[in-house]
Symmetry: C2
Amino acid sequence: MTDRLYAAIDLGGTRTRSAAAHEPPRFERRDEFETPDGSRAVIEAMASSVRRVVADVRAIAAIGVSAPGPLDHRRGVVHEAPNIPGFENIPLAAELSTDLGRPVYLDRDTVMAAIGEALYGAARGIRDFVYVTISTGIGGAIVADGRIVRGASGTAGEVGHWPVDPDGPRCGCGANGCIEAIASGSGIARAYGTGGADDVFEAARGGDERAAAVLRRASRALGDLAVGLVNVLNPALIVAGGGVAIGQPDFVFGAMRDAVRDRAFAVPGRAVRIVPAALGDDSGLVGALAMARERASGKEPLS
Amino acid sequence: MTDRLYAAIDLGGTRTRSAAAHEPPRFERRDEFETPDGSRAVIEAMASSVRRVVADVRAIAAIGVSAPGPLDHRRGVVHEAPNIPGFENIPLAAELSTDLGRPVYLDRDTVMAAIGEALYGAARGIRDFVYVTISTGIGGAIVADGRIVRGASGTAGEVGHWPVDPDGPRCGCGANGCIEAIASGSGIARAYGTGGADDVFEAARGGDERAAAVLRRASRALGDLAVGLVNVLNPALIVAGGGVAIGQPDFVFGAMRDAVRDRAFAVPGRAVRIVPAALGDDSGLVGALAMARERASGKEPLS
């Protein structure tokens, strides 16, 4: 199978990336562009990007596409991409497949990242784990006994939306006190009243007590996330990726590990390791390549 | 198979019940006794109870035992039963099997209840659901795509120990602000300063504002539980059993349903129903009978 070529696209709210590979996780070529507005413009930009990473589109066996949810991975339809204007109920897999003349397989970004980490990253050989992204938002994907937990309508894994503070701030989802509202990059920035979470970390390092208080609250919420996942799901591993986890590892992993040591049940607390995504920013792209390869062979990874 | 006889025991902190059946969920005879102190006394009382529900122990094909966790369901060992003095690292299945001369299969009470509800109760034909018990404590079991989520060390399902309030009361598990500490029967009673949760419901009905405040907080925590389960696991069904759910259904189901309607994501919120355990107090006994029958045939239910 190593002579077959696969492509992957990781659709993001701000930037979209693509890659081609004969044998993931090694990319032969990669590309990146600013995500335009409007679904048609996005799909055309995705097709152009694929054309840039391969010499001949006809050589591609299949294309894997990672996109923000909620989406229908079986039908290849994005229900809603909150950060991409005009992206609602778009049959993304079918449209891109028409444009490129190749089979396209769609799945949620966090599911693709979990597949990437399971096959080539930190979760290799591990049957029970949770992938968590701590970035502008907080999301995830759950793998139980080697299989992705999809849920009744394919939305399982939204670990950032367990409410953890009755007096917590309003969340983008409409509820209040979600982990995402308190501990995501945007939640941290909003609580301090700045444009980005990096400002808050810098201010706290400079001795700003208000910034330190915002981070203490975020740290508590990340701890609640880790303790909750450990007690409720008993994973052998929590893999954390996303901008905040990559940029502030001492903060994120310190908060989660300390909380599990101090507050989780002893048996599952001892059973879990909490580690960074081994593929860093590329977990989703690698997972999408693996998904393309598996589905092209009639298989489905982690199912 | 309908001519084979099965027995089940549901070991509880206060009372233990047993039953015999050729064809669950119908019991032929049942028995109940006050749980004694000390593991040897408990096991002997369990064996006596089984002898009372069958004419001849030798006719039993297998015995299913439901017990509080944490426990090792493969090896049949109870690691710890916090409410039963002297019950620590007890090879319950092996000892009871020696006493009775019949095969014994052990599993956690909430897992047995989930099996009972899946095969004969509210969750028949449903592949993604969560069984929740709201009683002296709060626990549960998760079924994803038709299989029980066990986790890395068999403790998955402790849904009462997701922390939901940084200012919440100390929980029996040692952490603070767990759902169990706020919304279980013992948590409600403790917050009001009384012996039982029933007093608090009665006082609130009589216009006692302090009792009403305790119940508002418990209601919020039950809502957090339902919203969290819906967002993180996307179940088609949440089945709630246990003393508080059975005794105060308007309170428990009102709190959970209203919260999901008002605060959960739209797609998984529409996909879920929240209903009482159809087998009431007997979910665990029925599940243990089914477990005995399945394992005696070399099968394992929901796995």
